[in-house]
Symmetry: C2
Subunit: 429 residues, 2 copies
């Protein structure tokens, strides 16, 4: 029935992110086909224990296997997706898949940080793609941004909040006055932190990601073993409070900057001035600030973990590999049709409205009556003292149909108590 | 001498952005060759008036012309760059270049919004790239992000501060209490606003960009003439102040969201709650917030205009077109070497340090003496009342060599007046 070219996927690892990917493949099937110009078929999923019950069901026709060679050595499979985590067996799996001429998509920051060189060398030799957007900062497209969008820049520095667990802990300590142990237990209860949280809170996860960002920003291999790393284990609430008194928030940052003597890099808890965007990154969010000699500064912010945000990044790599050499100028395979448009009058919005009213009895009564007649209700109001041009009456209106607000304002305008036309602006909900 | 493959460029338009591009081509030549794996040669620049003095000198060997066909019809030229602005002659120039099988890079939002369909159709037919990262939000990679990085998402909404001039005016009104006319005159004096600022302040520039983002996010053509547009002309300071009283900032937003009945889109001044990242976008910055059903929300922030930031976006498109089909997995053409690393002890940082000192005479004197001995100076200090575990003394230290701070702390640690090891965190400058 479907005449689209088929692109066949093999997946190794079916945990949180693998489940997210499978969910996206099914839920966004129509969007994916329109964007990639092909149909994705998930042929094989390799797991350790096929009897385990999964949160996400496999598509019909997908087979479960316990043998990695069912992906790497299957000539039907175009793209091998590695979502197992850890160094081995992922390293051997990826090497074998590349050797077989397959594109590989992985989220494995530890592997790429500690053994990336040989993988990239082999991928280059075979002329295939080894893509890893999901390995840093979940859905935030920082890999793609450094690899392509900032290609015209000499990068000066990269600073990132790259570990959601640590950021959640620090945010809870800072905003809700928790101590470290309570905030950590909380993160574990919410599923952010592993039972053994050391990779997160001791900074190693951030360091792995920083090695990847350095490679992309500066075109060099930074040996993971040489990275200075200080985590946030047992941070004292007292220091979070003192930092606030000086106007700072404490964040676990991966940082690198170019100096005349080479790269200055490391992972540290850092006091960040509260007015900076990086200081505003709360909860389990991630963010990256990049400085380049052409772009100036660029700031990216989004969800750094989770099944769907990370699955989104894996999916973008799969689409990139599947698109191949076609130009995809609009981002879609086929010519576009015209949008279905909601008539502007039927849109719904909250509103700020200011009237300049005459100081006479009954005005507020009449005005609120006109609003009510069109079903428009008031959330908040300020009335100020009289000025030369009248009395300012400001209303924040609950969300309503744009036409209804307009009709009420038209009726009010026809009355005799306004000194000037009403001013109306939308409010973001 | 240089054995790299040559990629030949032809440029039409040599104003602000054209000058930025030429500066980047020269200043970042080494980076560009490493990233693109080729050498860029700017063969021809077409201008209206070749006698005009330019801020940026052309590279040796580049010829100035007044005829657009010297780019479109020159078989040497691989990539045609259109930075003239306006509908004609850019439309004819781009159509001709595509017809000749050249890749085209443009920053022309008005053209792509009002006549994009025929250009994309021809580029698709010819199988060449028509790239336009610089057309929206200067250096911020929002085109690439929507086209590739979010390909696995069903996009729900896009909201952007897309016009730096308007945002500068609103920021000045909000933060510095200026009225509209003064803020506009100020923007003009700084070169942000044109002599005729209507495209900016009446919202049409934002609307052009929004049409482009809608095409990328939803895969549909949104007729520009059907976009509801409200600008910020003559906005009253009073409303900015009332909005602040309610906890909002006023921003000119381009907005679109998917509803069951179709797309709800428009350009409006909108009250944005002050805690939102969009409310924090100041001065001439741009920002975009995208919501997708996999990624959740993504926020991008950077410089939306200017020679180098916009030139950065143009350059990224040129690199993308030049790279062709090679995988470029690391973002660089050649295998990577190992980084030059600054020894961590030689890094320079400001510090927050907390001591728990004994309440006895001479402590502060000895402690500050030990810091001074290693050239470490104090920016700020807080000393709090005694607690069970001692008196907290917190110092903010000026930037110093990490080893010097460490040596001073080691010396202090050997004294007898600390109740606990000192706590030290870096401070972002």
């Amino acid at each position: 029935m479907n005449s689209l070219r088929k692109v066949t996927l093999g997946l190794a690892g079916f945990g949180t992110v693998g489940g997210g990917l499978v969910e996206i493949l099914q839920k966004n099937k129509a969007e994916l086909e329109a964007r990639a110009g092909c149909q994705f078929v998930l042929k094989t999923v390799v797991v350790r224990d096929p009897s385990r019950v999964r949160a996400v069901a496999l598509p019909e026709g997908t087979r479960l296997s316990t043998s990695l060679s069912d992906v790497t050595d299957d000539p039907d499979i175009d793209i091998a997706v590695e979502l197992m985590g850890g160094i081995e067996p992922p390293r051997s799996f990826i090497l074998r898949a590349l050797e077989q001429g397959k594109h590989v998509v992985t989220a494995n920051k530890a592997l790429l940080a500690e053994a990336g060189e040989e993988l990239f060398r082999l991928a280059g030799k075979k002329g295939v793609r080894l893509l890893y957007e999901a390995s840093v900062a979940g859905g935030i497209p920082v890999i793609q941004t450094l690899k392509e969008s900032l290609a015209g820049n000499r990068i000066q520095s990269v600073e990132g909040i790259l570990n959601g667990t640590s950021n959640y802990i620090l945010s809870e300590m800072s905003s809700n006055g928790k101590d470290f142990a309570t905030a950590l237990a909380d993160a574990q209860a919410r599923g952010y932190a592993e039972a053994d949280p050391s990779l997160d809170i001791d900074g190693h996860d951030t360091a792995h990601k920083l090695v990847l960002l350095i490679r992309l920003a500066f075109g060099v291999d930074y040996p993971y073993s040489q990275m200075p790393v200080q985590g946030i284990r047992n941070m004292d609430s007292m220091d979070i409070e003192f930092a606030r008194e000086f106007g700072y928030r404490v964040k676990l940052l991966g940082r690198v900057r170019r100096t005349e003597k080479g790269l200055e890099a490391g992972v540290f808890p850092v006091l960040v001035r509260h007015t900076y965007l990086l200081a505003r990154v709360g909860g389990a969010f991630n963010a990256i600030r990049i400085e380049g000699n052409a772009i100036g500064s660029l700031f990216l912010h989004g969800l750094g973990a989770g099944a769907l945000p990370t699955g989104s990044a894996v999916m973008s790599d799969i689409v990139a590999a599947a698109r191949g050499t076609m130009p995809f100028n609009t981002g879609f395979a086929a010519p576009l049709h015209t949008a279905d448009i909601v008539p502007p009058a039927d849109a719904v919005s909250s509103y700020y409205v200011r009237f300049m009213i005459k100081d006479q009895p009954g005005v507020l009564h009449a005005l609120t009556g006109d609003l009510a007649e069109f079903g428009v209700s008031i959330a908040q109001a300020i009335q100020k003292g009289e000025r030369d041009d009248g009395v300012p009456l400001v209303l924040m209106l609950h969300a309503a149909r744009v036409q209804d607000v307009q009709s009420a304002l038209d009726k009010i305008a026809a009355r005799d108590f306004l000194n000037a036309p009403a001013v109306a602006y939308r409010v973001m909900d």
